[in-house]
């Protein structure tokens, strides 16, 4: 019992260590973070302006509604980008600095290692996505009188579990290919969003892509967020989107840890932890 408590304490301190390290890095690269924030904001603007473009081209749409639909898509894209990026950097950045061997030889379970990064990614991602959302909404003077932000936050938190699980699987890529693994993580992010109705309803997609949309957590996150912000949906009314995300999360997190562990064993067998090895 005492030994189990000591192990638990050890793992919690390790988890705190992961959060602490990521916080130090964000702090030390603060100006780069500001630059990336402006890049995200600019990227989001280019998407959201499409709504105005449709009207300018003679389209008859509810401008506020279409603008908000696009804004939600762009913000979820950037949020997912942050979560995936931080998880992929679990390996990529550490290989670059050469610290990876010290992390992998520490008595820290891989689950705690990855969950620590995932937790930080969720916290940091939510803060950054919220600021982008508020800034762009203010820029366009969007009115969201029915919005239920509490439901929106709960949806994002639940979606994050499965995003982290899938992110763990992509984090293994730089172990297999130090040069191209990171970029492939962005490919995974793009593929997930393209089938999830990021800027359009899933119903416009070909049938095989609609089938893929069913197993993508982003589909439910996007649909749920739009219901919550545009129509003021309550948690009860988005349960149809929440339970599939919970199910995918329950499967994807252990699967992500398992895949990463396989990658780690492959790297240890073939001497790939050290860059020149």
């Amino acid at each position: 019992m005492r030994e189990a408590a000591a192990t638990m304490r050890h793992e919690f301190i390790g988890l705190y260590g992961m959060l602490e390290r990521n916080w130090y890095l964000i702090k030390r690269y603060a100006w780069w973070e500001v630059a990336f924030f402006f890049w995200t904001a600019a990227n989001t603007l280019t998407i959201v302006f499409i709504a105005k473009g449709v009207v300018a081209e003679g389209g008859t749409v509810n401008l506020d509604r279409l603008t908000t639909i696009l804004l939600i898509g762009a913000v979820i894209w950037s949020y997912l980008g942050i979560v995936f990026e931080l998880l992929i950097e679990t390996v990529a950045w550490e290989r670059w600095e050469g610290t990876i061997e010290y992390t992998f030889m520490a008595p820290l379970t891989r689950a705690v290692h990855l969950l620590g990064t995932g937790l930080f990614a969720i916290g940091y991602g939510i803060v950054r996505a919220s600021i982008v959302f508020a800034a762009i909404a203010a820029f366009f003077g969007l009115h969201m009188p029915n919005a239920n932000f509490a439901t929106a936050v709960v949806l994002l938190a639940v979606a994050s579990i499965s995003f982290v699980g899938i992110g763990m699987m992509t984090a293994v890529l730089p172990l297999i290919s130090p040069e191209k693994g990171t970029q492939f993580g962005y490919v995974a992010q793009g593929l997930m969003l393209v089938v999830s109705g990021v800027y359009y309803p899933v119903s416009v997609l070909p049938e095989f892509m609609q089938w893929l949309a069913k197993i993508s957590p982003a589909t439910y996150a996007l649909r749920g967020e739009r219901s919550a912000i545009l129509d003021g949906a309550t948690i009860g009314s988005v349960w149809g989107d929440l339970w599939p995300m919970l199910l995918i999360g329950v499967i994807s997190v252990p699967l992500g840890i398992w895949v990463f562990r396989r990658g780690e064993l492959h790297a240890k067998r073939h001497g790939k932890l050290k860059r020149s090895g």
Binding site: R9, H10, I13, G14, Y16, G17, M18, E20, R21, Y24, L25, R28, Y29, E97, G98, T99, E101, Y102, T103, F104, M105, A106, P107, L108, T109, L265, K268, R269, H270, G271, L273, K274, S276, G277
Partner: protein, 272 residues
């Protein structure tokens, strides 16, 4: 119980040749360690001498759970490095030739998060980090500076502090003084001696500095092309080959001079 018990340890890597046969590059088997066997007593300091590519770093990586062996076994204080990696990781720390850190972070930040991975809470590191940095001769006032502002010697002192902060029972030193200026080299060597005598630590020192091996270690091993061909006190090695210096003993044992490194490294293509 031995501190380190290595039995017929083998590790090989596969490297792709640059030349292609039938559109495919040929895979070449390179043996990094071939049946290495030795033991170390608790509190002993053993130096392993070898040229670049001789398998020194592979040995250190296998003992620190960073590589999986292809055969044989290695036990640290009775724990198998493959089957019981977690207990091994709690007992071992390592200082390598590259002082790897997050360069934008300060020495204090780098040490703090690394200590957490070993279960050391902030309440302990708050006082332990300045103390340990002082012990390794690192100026306390510079502990908030980014690592990138520090000299190579300073960074290596922080690397030693990182290893000692976790109170390892087995310290693996993989060329800790390579590339340091003479003064930093002496300071690091003095500190290793200090740790060895005051910490009850067992030390495995891999080096190609013959003097360092002779001065610091109880026994000196010669690792040649992945084979441990000798492991005895330096004086015994010299007597065995009837020579005056350790360099001559190395030459007599391997049949090659210590300087013949580059070709060896390129040919074997294993960890330095």
């Amino acid at each position: 119980m031995f501190a380190v018990e290595v039995n017929n340890l083998r590790k090989e890597f596969f490297r792709r040749d640059a030349t292609r046969t039938h559109m495919r590059r040929r895979r070449r088997r390179v043996a990094a360690l071939e049946g290495v066997t030795f033991t170390m007593e608790r509190g002993e300091c053993v130096a392993i001498l070898g040229q670049n590519g001789s398998g020194k770093s592979t040995l250190v990586r296998l003992l620190s759970t960073l590589l999986l062996p292809d055969g044989g076994s290695a036990r640290i204080f009775g724990h198998d490095v493959v089957k019981e990696s977690r207990p091994v990781q709690r007992l071992v720390n390592r200082v390598s030739v590259e002082a790897s850190f997050f360069k934008k972070m300060s020495s204090e930040e780098n040490l703090a998060y690394a200590a957490r991975f070993y279960g050391i809470p902030p309440s302990v590191t708050k006082t332990a980090i300045p103390e340990i940095l002082e012990r390794v001769g690192f100026p306390a006032g510079r502990r908030h500076e980014p690592m990138e502002n520090l000299s190579r010697g300073m960074q290596q002192k922080v690397a030693l502090a990182r290893a000692l902060l976790t109170s390892p029972v087995l310290l693996l030193l993989d060329e800790p003084t390579t590339g340091l200026d003479p003064r930093s080299k002496l300071e690091v060597q003095d500190f290793i001696r200090d740790v060895w005598t005051s910490h009850d630590a067992t030390i495995l020192l891999c080096t190609h500095d013959l003097r360092e091996a002779e001065v610091l270690a109880d026994r000196v091993g010669i690792l040649d092309r992945g084979r441990l061909i000798a492991l005895d006190p330096a004086e015994v090695l010299k007597e065995q080959h009837d020579v005056e210096t350790l360099e001559e003993a190395f030459f007599a044992a391997t049949g090659r001079a210590f300087e013949e490194e580059e070709d060896e490294d390129a040919e074997r293509g294993v960890f330095a």
